[in-house]
Amino acid sequence: MKRRSIKDTRHEGALFRRRALVGFALIVVSLGLLMARFAYLQVVRHDEFVTRAQNNRVKPRAIPPARGLIYDRNGVLLADNVPAFRLEVVPEQVKDMPALLAQLGRVVPLDHDDLDAFAKQLKQNRRFESVPLKMHLTEDEIDRFAVNRWRFPGVDVVPYLTRRYPLGEAFAHVVGYVGRIDADDVDRLDPVRYKGTSHVGRSGVERSYEDMLHGQPGYELVEVNADGRTQRVLETHAPTPGSNLYLSIDSRLQRAAEAAFEGRPGAAVAIDPRNGQVLAMVSVPTFDPNLFVNGISQVDYDALTHNPDKPLYNRALRGVYPPGSTVKPLVGLAGLETGFRKPQDTVFSTGVFYIPGQSRGYRDDVRGGSGRVNLMQAIEQSVNTYFYKLALDMGIDRLSSYLAKFSFGRPTGVDLIGEASGVLPSRAWKAAHSREPWYPGETVIAGIGQGYWAVTPLQLAHAIATFAGHGIPYEPRVVMATQQGMDAPRKPLPNPPSGPSLIANPADWDAVNQGMQMVIYGAKGTGRTLAAGFPYLMAGKSGTAERFSRTTNAYDTNRNTAYLASRHRAWFVAYAPADNPQIAVAVLLESGAWGASASGPIVRKILDVWLAEQGGVLAGATRLPAPTTAAARTPLPATTPTDDEEIPVAPLPEGGTP
């Protein structure tokens, strides 16, 4: 209150008056300055501007850049530009636009999408700039328009470049496709950079690398007459075409992987552990991306969206599935690295595991158990009890914080948009999604990749690749190099490791690697049928995850393959050569009876084709002696499911024994 008593209102009034006058004086001076500028333009430079206004017959016209091409790692063309024709309208030359569109629609059919996009772009453009109306005219449409052309001043057939995907379906989920710029895109895109451009990347590499692929538009200065019609081109500033991209994917490997699924829904991802380069990424079934480029017809679109196998769904990137036993090697690694286990420590498997003090049982899949097993044997035979106990001993916090380093529960950072995160079971995740506390039983089943677990095929491939690469983490990349212009050298895109190795002790790696080799070569290995004839050491792990929890006894009585396939997700992960890993693969079948017998052969096929692509010889790896039998490479037997697959989480009746 003291301040207020000092407040001198009369003095303040006078002060304000002085300030207001000074302010007004400054304003008048500034406005005078503005006037002076106008006088300079309107008097001093008047003649010059009058001439320029009269000669103002030159208008700039944008020339859209050619979109960068996309190749596979060997230079096979995956996305091409081909010439086509489209209808364009110059708005200022049209007196009555609705009438024109109505009449034109009778000559060349125009659908809703054409008209919507046209209306939106009409508002964005200057009136003398032509606006595309209909893309990809057929020969027939061009002919019919040519006959009627005199009726439509301001409308013209204009050549342009459209996108074509020669390998279509095999790369639909990776390369993606471009689509016509629609109303939403117009709001999003830089109007200057996209002036004259009609298409933009919609999915896959086409979308995530849009910035590089697009390029910079050029322009030409054209002279127009008093009606605004183009007379001649005065000068041309060429556009800068977009960069060409080289994928790290090998198209032959990609196509072989896709074929190996024989149409069964699933996904496969192969990664080079030495640099994170994606060598194949397949989601089955797939679709023809060429349908989308110039607007897909309603019939085609309905066929894709109503297909129960969802061809548009990118399973490799977005599909999340319980990983099942494929995470056991990494759980074992976590036990070694955190000091809870030594490789030779053993656990006695009786066929059922109990949390001390609880009566609920957790099953092994071999009735009566597998006996005393160490880590390597536990991986070889996929012994649940070993990992139940290990998870319980470590506790969920240590387990999930170790596995988080392998990008479970978060995006891998691949250079494609729309990657799913999956779920890594943890207290934090459960607290965010449920009011229930964390139960020890959930720790137990997390140890064998069940429960809340959810991973994408890409995540699993990335985790196995990271392990195979001795723990050095690389973010997965599908694009490995760019090229500015046809004859320029390829410029590799750097992809340094995102951190130091995740594995502190090399001996831990050796132990888990040995266990994963025993899966393939061990007498009781779950994948022992897969090794025949492969000239280098393989290492792998099967996984069979349940899609539903068991509510009836049907499971125990009904053991035919078709029934099991309807209940199981079949995984197989592998890397080779085990003594110097150069490829890591993860394969998922959405409906497979058993991981090893259903998905294993697909993995093997991918490895075979990959090896052939390397010339059949790998550097720095032991070559296995050729088999002595005459049939050097026996076809893989159509195995019946081996009994030693893992079947988790079956609560036994109280006090029951298997």
Binding site: T9, F16, R17, R18, L34, Q42, H46, A53, V192
Partner: protein, 371 residues
């Protein structure tokens, strides 16, 4: 109860109609400006009557709000001020969190209409600064200056972040004018200006690339023939070719032949200059100067500090609009989206300006009584 409200409401409306508390010279100036605006818009919009009708409707709405607000005494406005300021700043935060807009996030979608909260700050900002300085001892010391600086910086920062640099500058200017008018010592002004000058290289570093491009384009318009450079060149051709007496109403070739972009909104001044020449420009600027001068006169006549500072700040920020828009048209200032007050087509700007003038009318009605 309802009966009573109805009767009181009718009485209130009748008072507004029969005994409007308005300042006649200011009202005349505004009416003249609105008329010039509609005439120019008719020409710039290629004789589109719907466009002119819509704008006239918005003037009518703004005028009604002006009359309504002129009845609210400044003391009442002052008591609302902290709430209005806090509310509009909170809306900015909401926009920052969930707003939508093209590239920059400025709009709130209310379902019925889209709404730009930063527009509110153009009025609530000087209100808040005036409210804060009202009970203080003036001229303000460093402490009060710092508080006012914070009051300005928070919303201005949020708006600049959207990013909407044009509005951020206008809002900052409105608050700063109130501080200037409060009598802040010249040497303090000098120190602050020097500090701001030193910050310019740093600020340049924080600008978005497109904002830097706009400034650079001003220096070399030919470098950007498809974007802003084109706007600058064509606008100057329009102004320059108008000459002293202009080409006459509806004879702007630059606008007719579509060389001039945005010729009903931000660049309408160029159409006006082309059609009415230097003479027209001089008349229009004189009219603006008259309106600003009248605002400052009303401010000097005001009874207390709050009203004085608020009226003065509104008048001076009106000047900023004119100067920034005119400077852009004449190629002196970069291309920023600031409309020419009451001439450019656009509802939000016209209505919010007339609301601000309603506040001025209220201040005028409650002026000092001269003996």
């Amino acid at each position: 109860m309802i009966e009573m409200l109805y009767v009181r409401g009718r009485r209130f409306l009748r008072r507004i109609m029969t005994r409007p508390r308005i300042d006649l010279p200011l009202a005349t100036g505004l009416l003249l400006l609105a008329f010039i605006g509609l005439v120019t818009l008719y020409s710039a919009g290629d004789g589109n009557l719907a466009l002119v009708g819509g704008q006239a409707g918005r003037f009518a709405l703004g005028g009604a709000l002006l009359l309504l607000i002129s009845r609210i005494p400044p003391q009442v406005l002052r008591s609302w001020t902290p709430w209005l300021y806090a509310g509009s700043t909170a809306l900015l935060v909401v926009v920052a969190v969930l707003g939508e807009g093209r590239g920059s996030i400025r709009w709130l979608d209310l379902g019925v209409m889209r709404f730009q909260p930063s527009e509110l700050l153009k009025l609530t900002m000087p209100m808040m600064v005036a409210w804060y300085l009202h009970p203080r001892r003036l001229p303000p010391g460093w402490g009060d200056i710092a508080v006012v600086g914070l009051l300005i910086a928070i919303p201005a920062g949020l708006i600049a972040e959207q990013p909407d640099l044009g509005t951020a500058v206008l809002v900052t200017a409105a608050g700063t004018f109130a501080l200037f008018l409060s009598g802040m010592a010249w040497w303090r002004i000098g120190v602050l200006l020097a500090a701001v000058g030193g910050m310019i290289p740093v600020a340049w570093h924080f600008l978005h690339q497109y904002q830097r491009d706009r400034v650079l384009t001003l220096l070399n318009p030919e470098s950007d023939p498809l974007g802003n450079g084109w706007h600058i060149i064509q606008s100057q051709i329009a102004v320059g070719s108008g000459g002293i007496f202009g080409k006459g109403w509806q004879h702007s070739t630059q606008s007719r032949l579509d060389f001039l972009p945005e010729h009903t909104t931000d660049f309408i001044f160029a159409v006006f200059s082309e059609e009415f020449g230097l003479v027209g420009v001089a008349a229009l600027i004189t009219l603006y100067a008259f309106i600003i001068g009248r605002c400052l006169w009303i401010a000097m006549e005001a009874r207390e500090t709050y009203s004085r500072l608020l009226a003065g700040a509104i008048g001076m920020s009106f000047f900023v609009y004119v100067f920034v828009n005119g400077g852009m048209i004449a190629g002196m200032l970069p291309v920023v989206g600031v409309p020419l007050p009451l001439i450019s087509y656009g509802g939000t700007s016209a209505v919010s300006l007339l609301v601000a003038f309603g506040v001025l009318m209220s201040i005028h009605a409650n002026r000092k009584r001269h003996a």
